[in-house]
C-alpha cells in the first residue's frame, strides 16, 4: 500500500465483529492526499462501523491502518484526533448547550497547551493563546457560514447550520483527514448545494475528505473516488463514474432478488 506515494490513509484487511455478526470483513482501501473519497453502501453495510473503527471508538479485530506513513493501531479516539483525523457524527453530536463559538473553541483544545497553572495565573502566554483560540474559532465559523450566529446555542441553530458547525468544530483540530458521516442527511436541495461548495473549499484548502453519504447526486458530483461496502465487505472501489455502472453495486442498491407481493394480504 505504501507503494502509492500519495496515500494519506491505507487500510488493509480491516475486520470487526459484533458477536457472530461480521460488521466488517477484510476491507482494503487507500485514500490519496487531497481527494474527496466517498464511502457508500446500503443501510447496515458497515460504513459507520468503519468510521468508528478508524477513529478509535471501536477496537479492530483484524487489519491495519497506515495514516500519513505511520500505523494507526489501538489508539484512543483523542489520540486519533491528535494524529490528524477529525470526524463528525451521523446524528449530530454538538455540545448542544454551548454557543456555536464555544463549540469550535473546544475543537482547538488538542492544538493548544494551557494547563491548570496557566489557567489560574493567566500569564501573557495563556492570554495570547486564548485570544488565538477565539480568533481561529471565529474564522472557522465564517468559513462555514455560521459566524452571524456565533453566540447562539448550538441546539437553537437550524439543522443545516448545525451540520456545518460540526464541520467547523472538526476543522478546528487542524485535521489532515476530515471524516464526515452523512453530512447531507436530512438537508434540502439548497442546503446540500451549500454543503457541496463548502466541501470543495475544504479540499481546495488542503484537507483530504472521507465522506459517508446516501445522497448519490452529491457523492457522484464531488467524490473523486468511491468505496462501496455491502454486508461489511468491499464490493467496489474506483472513480465515481465507474462505480456507478458496476453491476455488483447496482444489485446491492436495488436488491436484485426481492419480490413484492402486489396482490395484498388477502
Amino acid at each position: 500500500m505504501s507503494s502509492e506515494p500519495l496515500a494519506l490513509l491505507a487500510a488493509t484487511g480491516v475486520a470487526k465483529r459484533f458477536g457472530g455478526v461480521h460488521a466488517l470483513s477484510d476491507v482494503d482501501f487507500t485514500i490519496r492526499r487531497g481527494e474527496i473519497y466517498g464511502l457508500i453502501g446500503p443501510n447496515g453495510a458497515g460504513k459507520t462501523t468503519l468510521f468508528n473503527v478508524l477513529t478509535g471508538i471501536y477496537g479492530r479485530d483484524e487489519g491495519e491502518f497506515l495514516f500519513d506513513g505511520e500505523p494507526l493501531n489501538d489508539l484512543k479516539p483523542n489520540e486519533v484526533a491528535e494524529r490528524g483525523i477529525a470526524r463528525t457524527f451521523q446524528n449530530i453530536r454538538l455540545f448542544a448547550n454551548l454557543s456555536a463559538l464555544e463549540n469550535v473553541m473546544i475543537g482547538r483544545h488538542v492544538r493548544t497547551h494551557a494547563g491548570v497553572f496557566g489557567a489560574i495565573a493567566r500569564n501573557a502566554r495563556t492570554l495570547a493563546e486564548e485570544k488565538g483560540i477565539a480568533a481561529r474559532a471565529y474564522e472557522l465559523l465564517e468559513y462555514v457560514g455560521v459566524a452571524e450566529r456565533a453566540n447562539h446555542l448550538a441546539r437553537h441553530l437550524p439543522y443545516g447550520f448545525q451540520r456545518r458547525l460540526e464541520i467547523a468544530r472538526a476543522l478546528a483540530t487542524d485535521p489532515k483527514l476530515l471524516a464526515l458521516d452523512e453530512p447531507a442527511a436530512g438537508m434540502n436541495a439548497t442546503e446540500t448545494a451549500t454543503l457541496a461548495s463548502l466541501l470543495h473549499d475544504i479540499r481546495r484548502d488542503g484537507t483530504t475528505i472521507l465522506l459517508i453519504e446516501h445522497d448519490m447526486k452529491l457523492v457522484m458530483g464531488i467524490c473523486d473516488r468511491v468505496l462501496v461496502l455491502d454486508y461489511g465487505r468491499k464490493i467496489a472501489e474506483g472513480p465515481a463514474a465507474d462505480v456507478r455502472n458496476n453491476p455488483a453495486v447496482i444489485a446491492a442498491y436495488l436488491g436484485g432478488d426481492i419480490e413484492l407481493d402486489t396482490k395484498g394480504t388477502q
Binding site: T55, I57, K76, P77, N78, A81, E82, A86, R87, F89, R93, L94, F95, A96, N97, L98, E102, M105, I106, G107, H109, V110, T112, A114, G115, V116, G118, A119, I120, R122, T126, E129, E130, I133, L153, R155, R169, A170, A172, T173
Partner: protein, 363 residues
C-alpha cells in the same frame, strides 16, 4: 432573573465607577464584619468562620460536580485526609510541630493523591454508579481513621486527636486574643481574615478555571463525552484533574478546620457532611461560583439562625416550648430544602449553562 442587568451595572469596563465603589464598599463591609458579629457574640464569629470554610469546601466540590459533572458523594473524605494530615503533623500526638504553611501544601498534596486514587478506578463510571462508589470511598476513609489506632496508633481511633496547634508565625498565634491598633482581635476574628483571604483566592481560582481551556474541556465532557473524545480531549486526564483539584481544595479546608477546632475525630467526617456540601453546591447553583458560595452560606447559617430563633418564638407565641428546638430546626431545614428544589431546580443562582441543560432535558 435580573442578574444580566446587575452584572452590567457592576461591569468594571462599562461602569468602572459603580463597580469599584461596589468592590470597595463590600471589602470594607467584609473587613468590619467580624467586629459587628463579635458585638452580638463570639459564637457568631465562629459560625461565620465555619460558614466560610464550607464555602471553600463547596467550591472545591464544585470543580468536580459543577464543572466536570462527576457526582461525588464521598467528598468529605478529602476534607478528612487534609484534617488528619494537619493534626498528625502539628500536635503532641507524634510530637511533631510543623508550621501551617508547610503542612497545608502537604495536606493538599496528600488529598490530591487520594483524589487520583479515587478517580482512577472510577473513570468509566457515570451518574448513579459513580455516586455509589464515591460514597463507599468516603465511608472507607472514615472507617480507616476510626480503626487505625492499633496495632500502631496512627489516628488515635474514635478518641480523635487533641491539642492541635493553631496557625502561627513565630510568636504570632492566631488562637490568642490580642489588641492591635486599639482594636480587640479575638482568636476567631484573626482566623476570619485568613479564611476570608483563602475564600477570595478560591473564588478567583474557580472563576479562572471555568473560563479557560481546561474549563471548556470539562464542559465538553459534561455535555457529550464521546464527542469530546473525538475532538481530541483526553477525557481520562481531564476527569482525573477535576478529582485532583477538588480533592486539593478539600485537603486545604481540612487543614484549616483542624487548626481552628484544635480537635478532630472521625465523627466530624460522616456521610451527612458529604451530603451537606453537595447540597450547598446543588442548591446554590451547580457550576456557578457565586451561586455555590451563596448556597454554602445559606446552608451554614439557616440551621444556626433557627437554633437561636425557634425556642424564643415558641415562648412568645405559646408561652412555653412545645417542640424541642433541635428537632424542629432540622425539620424546617429539610422543608426549606424541598421547597427550594421544587421552585428553583437549577439552584438559587444557577449557572447559565446548567439552566439551559435543565430546560433542554425532555420531561
Amino acid at each position: 432573573m435580573k442578574t444580566p442587568a446587575l452584572r452590567s451595572l457592576f461591569d468594571r469596563k462599562k461602569n468602572p465607577r459603580v463597580a469599584w465603589t461596589g468592590i470597595v464598599l463590600m471589602t470594607l463591609a467584609l473587613l468590619a464584619l467580624p467586629f459587628a458579629l463579635a458585638g452580638v457574640g463570639t459564637a457568631w464569629v465562629r459560625i461565620t468562620n465555619l460558614a466560610i470554610l464550607y464555602c471553600f469546601l463547596a467550591l472545591g466540590l464544585n470543580i468536580v460536580v459543577g464543572f466536570a459533572g462527576l457526582l461525588d458523594l464521598g467528598y468529605i473524605a478529602f476534607y478528612a485526609v487534609g484534617a488528619y494530615v494537619y493534626a498528625l503533623l502539628a500536635s503532641p500526638h507524634f510530637n511533631i510541630h510543623l508550621p501551617f504553611w508547610i503542612i497545608l501544601p502537604i495536606g493538599a498534596a496528600v488529598a490530591c493523591l487520594f483524589g487520583v486514587l479515587l478517580g482512577t478506578p472510577t473513570l468509566k463510571l457515570r451518574g448513579d454508579y459513580l455516586a455509589i462508589v464515591t460514597l463507599g470511598f468516603g465511608e472507607i476513609i472514615r472507617i480507616f481513621l476510626n480503626n487505625l489506632s492499633s496495632p500502631v496508633n496512627i489516628t488515635n481511633g474514635p478518641q480523635g486527636i487533641y491539642m492541635i496547634d493553631p496557625f502561627h508565625f513565630g510568636s504570632f498565634s492566631f488562637a490568642r486574643p490580642q489588641t492591635m491598633a486599639g482594636l480587640d482581635f479575638s482568636g476567631p476574628v484573626k482566623y476570619y481574615y485568613i479564611l476570608l483571604a483563602a475564600l477570595v483566592l478560591s473564588i478567583v481560582i474557580n472563576l479562572r478555571l471555568q473560563d479557560s481551556r481546561i474549563g471548556r474541556a470539562w464542559e465538553a465532557i459534561r455535555e457529550d463525552e464521546i464527542a469530546a473524545r473525538a475532538m481530541g480531549i483526553n477525557t481520562r486526564n481531564m476527569k482525573l484533574l477535576a478529582f485532583a483539584m477538588g480533592a486539593s481544595f478539600g485537603g486545604i479546608a481540612g487543614g484549616m478546620f483542624s487548626a481552628i477546632q484544635g480537635f478532630i475525630s472521625p465523627e466530624s467526617f460522616v456521610l451527612v457532611e458529604s451530603v451537606m456540601v453537595l447540597s450547598m453546591v446543588v442548591l446554590g447553583g451547580m457550576g456557578n461560583v457565586f451561586g455555590v458560595v451563596l448556597g454554602a452560606l445559606l446552608l451554614s447559617f439557616i440551621p444556626e439562625l433557627l437554633r437561636y430563633t425557634v425556642g424564643p418564638i415558641q415562648q412568645a407565641v405559646f408561652g412555653r416550648t412545645l417542640i424541642d428546638p433541635e428537632v424542629i430546626r432540622m425539620l424546617l431545614f429539610g422543608f426549606a430544602l424541598v421547597l427550594m428544589m421544587l421552585f428553583r431546580p437549577a439552584g438559587i443562582w444557577p449557572s447559565a449553562l446548567r439552566k439551559r441543560e435543565l430546560e433542554a432535558r425532555p420531561t
